[in-house]
């Protein structure tokens, strides 16, 4: 007995479009775009991180509860947000943040290994870069589920900040173990900072995390996470501006004839 399957004309039309054969457009164009775009995406994301929050990302002893947690989510969400807009607008791909996180992961590790380890000889367990990949996956998942940049900016910024902290805390935790060093109780990260001298950074015996926020004790990181979220919402819209007006809006637009 034949079963009648209703044909969704729109879906059928889209399916035919996906599998359409062109004379010149083939997979090489996809490859060249995704491969070469990865470089500029990594560049924009890494320079934003380096020059807005780099000091807190370079060293284990600078990865503190106060500034690292507050500034880094803001600096790191900007380019993923821009790529979310570009990829969603162009292909309806909810992959922009993850793509950016993966690009910058490779670029940052190349930078740290080639430059920080083999150029000036710092060990990798002192200068490892923070990862954004879990945060990126969550941000993209939220866009896929809500299909709203406004919702992603508000809830996603909080998720981004929290996921950034959780995923990197797992890596950082061993360096926060207490050690007895020259009559003082310090962390392993502090001892790294003292052992591997950075002649041009602030005095190496200084406690990076300071000011009165420390009076909150264990609450410090939650206060920082909350403020980091607020800043990340702002950062998300900076990224949206880049994606909308610096990357997509100029398509087919021209200045006055010269």
């Amino acid at each position: 007995m034949a079963i009648a399957i209703p044909v969704d004309r729109k879906a059928d039309e889209l399916r035919r479009l996906v599998f359409k054969r062109y004379r010149w457009i083939d997979r090489k164009w996809d490859f060249m775009f995704w491969f070469t775009a990865a470089f500029v995406v990594a560049a924009a994301a890494d320079i934003t991180r380096l020059l807005f929050a780099g000091d807190w990302d370079f060293w284990t002893d600078w990865k503190d509860r106060e500034w690292w947690m507050t500034i880094t989510p803001f600096a790191t969400i900007i380019i993923p947000s821009a790529l979310q807009f570009i990829q969603w607008r162009a292909w309806r791909f909810p992959t922009g943040a993850t793509y950016t996180a993966c690009c910058v992961f490779v670029a940052a590790w190349i930078g740290r290994v080639v430059q920080w380890k083999f150029f000036v000889n710092y060990p990798m367990n002192f200068v490892w870069p923070a990862t954004w990949i879990p945060a990126g996956i969550l941000l993209d998942f939220l866009l896929l589920e809500t299909r709203s940049f406004i919702v992603v900016s508000v809830i996603g910024a909080g998720l981004w900040t929290l996921a950034f902290w959780v995923s990197n805390y797992a890596i950082l935790a061993p360096f926060l173990q207490p050690v007895h060093f020259m009559g003082h109780t310090l962390t392993v990260a502090d001892v790294q900072g003292i052992t591997y001298i950075r002649a041009q950074t602030p005095e190496y015996l200084r406690v990076i995390e300071r000011d009165s926020l420390r009076t909150f004790l264990q609450e410090t990181q939650y206060v920082s996470l909350a403020f980091g979220t607020v800043l990340a919402i702002f950062g998300y819209w900076v990224g949206q501006f880049i994606g909308r007006y610096l990357a997509v809006w100029p398509i087919g637009r021209f200045l006055k004839q010269i």
Partner: protein
């Protein structure tokens, strides 16, 4: 049906009312979308640029810590200050030769002789254009990630006593100006080879305006950066912070490079139009006429 002409020598065509269609010779393996055809320069540019960065890095590996730490020595002059002049000379010479070739050879293009190019030839040019855009992208990575990482590592480790430190040399004086050369060169290629997208009659594209602004102002920002460091503003004496205000313009100019996505967008739309014309059997002459009359 396309009327195929195998060479560009046809001044008679200029005098004819119906322009002839130029198509490049068909060489196996070197077609418009073959890796060694239209994509050749896109494929070669990536290893060339990354190779250049690797050569600089190896040079620094042998000389930076032994010679590059004291700018007052004669060795420093020969290994690092003279290197700046060599770098600027190489980039300058490359710029003159490449831009000169693009502009001069444009006068010998079939279009300049009154012909119309085939769709196949236009697709090849778009592939070459994507290769140049890709090269600019790779150069931006070297400018904004590979060497800035080194700059941070170097300056937080050693005293800054010159603007020509080993970490600045390849970044500021080779890859930064090369970025300007690549961005403007890509525009010149687009303007002369892809008139349907970037023809002079359309005006100056916003996409290139943003990308060129990013590369030009990145070079200009070097001056502000060095000035900022020279007076140690915001840098608490001799201490070296990376996240200081006079570094932030580097980030802003990195964002302007977002215009590069518009280049991909504009040319892929043209590619779809070419495919549509092919599907509908529109002759290249008709398509070219439609493009011109839509001004």
């Amino acid at each position: 049906m396309e009327e195929i002409v195998q060479s560009a020598r046809a001044p008679e065509a200029v005098r004819e009312r119906q322009p002839e269609v130029y198509d490049a010779p068909r060489v196996p393996g070197k077609g418009p979308i073959d890796w060694m055809g239209g994509w050749k320069w896109g494929l070669l540019a990536v290893p060339i640029l990354l190779g250049a960065a690797a050569v600089f890095r190896v040079y620094q590996g042998f000389t930076a810590l032994s010679i590059g730490t004291d700018s007052s020595t004669p060795q420093f002059f020969w290994y690092y200050e003279f290197l700046v002049a060599v770098e600027i000379g190489i980039v300058g010479l490359f710029t003159i030769l490449w831009w000169g070739w693009i502009i001069r050879s444009a006068k010998r293009l079939p279009e300049a002789l009154g012909m119309v190019i085939s769709r196949r030839e236009e697709v090849r040019r778009i592939a070459v254009f994507w290769g140049l855009v890709g090269a600019t992208s790779v150069n931006l990575y070297i400018e904004a990630s590979f060497f800035p990482n080194q700059d941070g590592a170097w300056h937080q480790t050693l005293v800054r006593d010159t603007a020509f430190t080993p970490s600045h040399d390849p970044m500021f004086y080779f890859f930064f100006p090369l970025g300007v050369t690549l961005a403007i060169g890509t525009y010149l290629y687009g303007r002369t080879r892809l008139p349907a997208v970037y023809g002079a009659w359309k005006g100056f594209p916003w996409s290139f305006f943003l990308l060129i602004a990013a590369t030009v102002t990145e070079v200009a920002q070097v001056a502000m950066n060095e000035w900022g460091h020279s007076v140690n503003l915001g840098n608490a004496g001799a201490e070296e912070f990376f996240s200081v205000w006079f570094h932030w313009p580097f980030v802003l100019y990195g964002w302007l490079a977002g215009g590069i996505f518009a280049l991909w967008g504009e040319t892929i739309l043209r590619l779809y139009q070419i495919e549509k014309d092919e599907e509908e059997g529109v002759s290249p002459v008709e398509a070219a006429t439609a493009t011109v009359t839509s001004r």
